[in-house]
């Protein structure tokens, strides 16, 4: 015979949202090996730099050449985006597909609390990965390329990583509420990375070289509206110029592949002619990125709230 407990259970002590947060963080998102691999991948550029002697003592140049842009493009725009997509794609869809969602929603918790609990867990995981990997990178930077502004430099990078975290975390979690198939959910943001980051070195320059009526194809057909790679680097350049210094020439050279700058050589003097393409103000780029991800998560939440769970 089951004894009836005298304990007063309804004296609430923990909010259900925290239960979902803890469970999502420890059982869905975090995994020891997943975490270690993510950290190694995030810090791989700095780890590779450790045995190499810096070729120049011009510290700000070296920092940007060896760590800065590599970290922004590779660590944040690719690796960190992958981590966020991998962590968020299954958060809702897996529970809906497998059937665990039915048991979850039979408990006194709203669907909004379920989503917020999971979203919060995603943010905490993303921030922890960021801080730890950034600490490793920062350490290498201090050893290899000492200069005074190291914290504002890496602070800017962390700030930029939060934009990436918000975009891919929010966008993919939104898709996770709309679609059920995890592969399809992950494929959509992965395609965005493939086209906007990897494609940046082939597709975007090609679109700049095709000239129609004296203007690049990219500009004539206003491709920049849909070019997330352009918007991301536009935001990064803004953060950098606000918190560190004007963009050094080697960063500008790197960012021309993203449509932010064009570099032409003067036929007579062979001098570089650098032009900034002001398609969007950085604030507008930031707003666009945030709004796009927010729209996807809002649509996802509306559909998830209405969805019948069987």
């Amino acid at each position: 015979m089951l004894k009836k407990s005298n304990q007063s259970f309804y004296e609430k002590s923990i909010k259900p949202i925290w239960a979902v947060f803890k469970k999502s963080l420890y059982f869905d998102i975090y995994g020891r090996w997943k975490f270690i691999i993510a950290l190694i991948a995030m810090s791989s550029i700095s780890i590779m730099l450790l045995p190499i002697d810096p070729q120049t003592t011009d510290n700000i140049y070296s920092l940007n050449a060896y760590l800065g842009l590599g970290q922004v493009i590779f660590s944040y725009c690719v690796i960190f985006s992958f981590i966020m997509i991998h962590s968020s794609a299954s958060l809702i869809s897996e529970e809906t597909k497998s059937g665990t969602m039915l048991l979850l929603i039979s408990k006194p918790i709203s669907r909004g609390e379920i989503v917020w609990g999971k979203y919060l867990a995603l943010w905490i995981y993303g921030i922890v990965i960021n801080l730890v990997s950034c600490a490793v990178i920062c350490l290498v930077a201090i050893i290899k390329f000492p200069f005074n502004d190291i914290f504002s430099y890496f602070g800017t990078q962390i700030l930029f990583s939060l934009v990436i975290l918000f975009f891919y975390g929010t966008f993919t979690l939104g898709l996770s509420m709309i679609l059920k198939n995890i592969k399809t959910i992950a494929m959509i943001p992965l395609l965005i990375i493939m086209i906007t980051i990897f494609g940046a070195y082939i597709i975007r320059p090609a679109l700049f070289y095709i000239i129609i009526d004296g203007r690049p194809f990219y500009e004539v057909f206003q491709i920049y509206h849909f070019d997330l790679g352009y918007h991301f680097v536009n935001i990064y350049a803004w953060f950098y110029e606000t918190f560190v210094s004007p963009l050094p020439i080697e960063v500008i050279r790197g960012l021309r592949y993203f449509g932010l700058y064009t570099i032409y050589y003067d036929d007579d003097t062979l001098e570089e002619i650098i032009t900034k393409m002001n398609f969007y103000s950085p604030q507008a780029s930031l707003a666009l990125v945030l709004i796009l991800a927010s729209i996807v998560i809002i649509i996802g939440f509306i559909l998830y709230k209405k969805r019948d769970i069987n």
């Binding site: 089951l2 259970f9 309804y10 059982f27 039915l102 039979s106 006194p108 709203s110 209405k306």
Partner: protein
């Protein structure tokens, strides 16, 4: 809000609209469930699971109302009062039973420290205490069902909703679950669905039968049996001179049919008028000094009523 009943529904309806094709899964059901164990019967696809899922708020109600203990069905307040076990409970494969029960308790707002004693009791009650640290993916179907029941009981619910709790279990597993449910009835009301009628007969006092989304019958099981036995025209008679009585009955043109059944060696009689038959037999046994061992109508099984009603509904 109707507060007198554990579950009360008014014209509860669920229509699925998929690719412009409308399917009525639950069709204007008026349900009243009082305290005790209430069975919810119906063939596969009758709408039992859909009804239960509407009650817990997993699926939306197309039309009508549903109230659980005075609270709107599906609301947080109503869900706080219930424990629910779905038809095929699915658990997080990387969690142990202990971790899952802590999580389930947390979802009710109960902290680990407050629920540890309760979890220990539940694990012991369901004989899972030795396996509590194994991941649920390694559990058998019966053990998973026990974890599901334990999680449904974690908040000391006032109403337990069980959707076909014995499906996919072996006979021993089924018996165990039936026994657990019967024991739990002392402490809470239980609304249990099944298409295994013998189990419902063992567990419940009242029952609702639905078919093709429509409510066919709701009443006390005994009352249903009584109702259907009065319309039943089969009688069984056993005496010390069965052959002699059978001869007499066969000669009587008012008796539709009479025979000695090979299984029980008793006389089976089909007759419309019970009183007339009693008079006839009484006179005959008195005249011939025959001893009556038994004279009764066979008990109507719930299964017979169920088949009869769902067949009629099919027509």
């Amino acid at each position: 809000m109707k507060t007198d009943y554990e579950i009360w529904t008014q014209e509860l309806t669920k229509v699925y609209d998929r690719r412009s094709i409308q399917t009525v899964a639950v069709d204007h059901i008026n349900l009243t469930v009082e305290s005790g164990i209430h069975g919810f019967l119906g063939p596969n696809g009758a709408g039992k699971t859909t009804t239960m899922n509407m009650l817990i708020g997993a699926i939306s109600i197309t039309e009508g109302k549903a109230v659980i203990m005075g609270k709107k069905a599906g609301s947080k307040e109503a869900r706080r009062l219930i424990g629910f076990l779905p038809q095929d409970p699915v658990f997080y494969s990387n969690m142990t039973a202990y971790q899952y029960l802590i999580y389930a308790a947390n979802l009710y707002g109960i902290t680990k420290s407050k629920v540890e004693k309760k979890i220990a009791e539940l694990l012991e009650y369901f004989e899972l205490d030795d396996e509590k640290d194994k991941t649920i993916s390694k559990y058998s179907g019966g053990m998973k069902q026990k974890v599901g029941l334990a999680s449904a009981l974690i908040n000391n619910p006032k109403l337990l909703i069980l959707d076909e709790p014995t499906t996919n279990l072996d006979p021993i597993g089924r018996k165990n679950i039936v026994d657990y449910v019967k024991t739990l009835a002392n402490e809470m009301s239980i609304f249990v669905s099944s298409h295994i009628l013998s189990e419902i007969e063992q567990m419940c006092k009242t029952v609702t039968i639905i078919d093709k989304g429509k409510l066919i019958l709701t009443d006390k099981i005994q009352k249903i049996k009584n109702t259907y036995s009065t319309t039943n025209n089969v009688f069984i008679l056993d005496t010390n001179a069965n052959e002699m009585i059978l001869k007499e009955l066969k000669n009587n043109n008012k008796i539709n049919k009479a025979w000695i059944d090979t299984e029980d060696s008793k006389i089976h009689i089909i007759h419309e008028d019970k009183e007339m038959l009693q008079v006839l037999i009484s006179k005959f046994v008195l005249n011939h000094n025959i001893i009556i061992k038994s004279f009764h109508q066979p008990e109507v099984m719930l299964q017979d009523v169920f088949i009869n009603l769902t067949k009629k509904n099919g027509k």
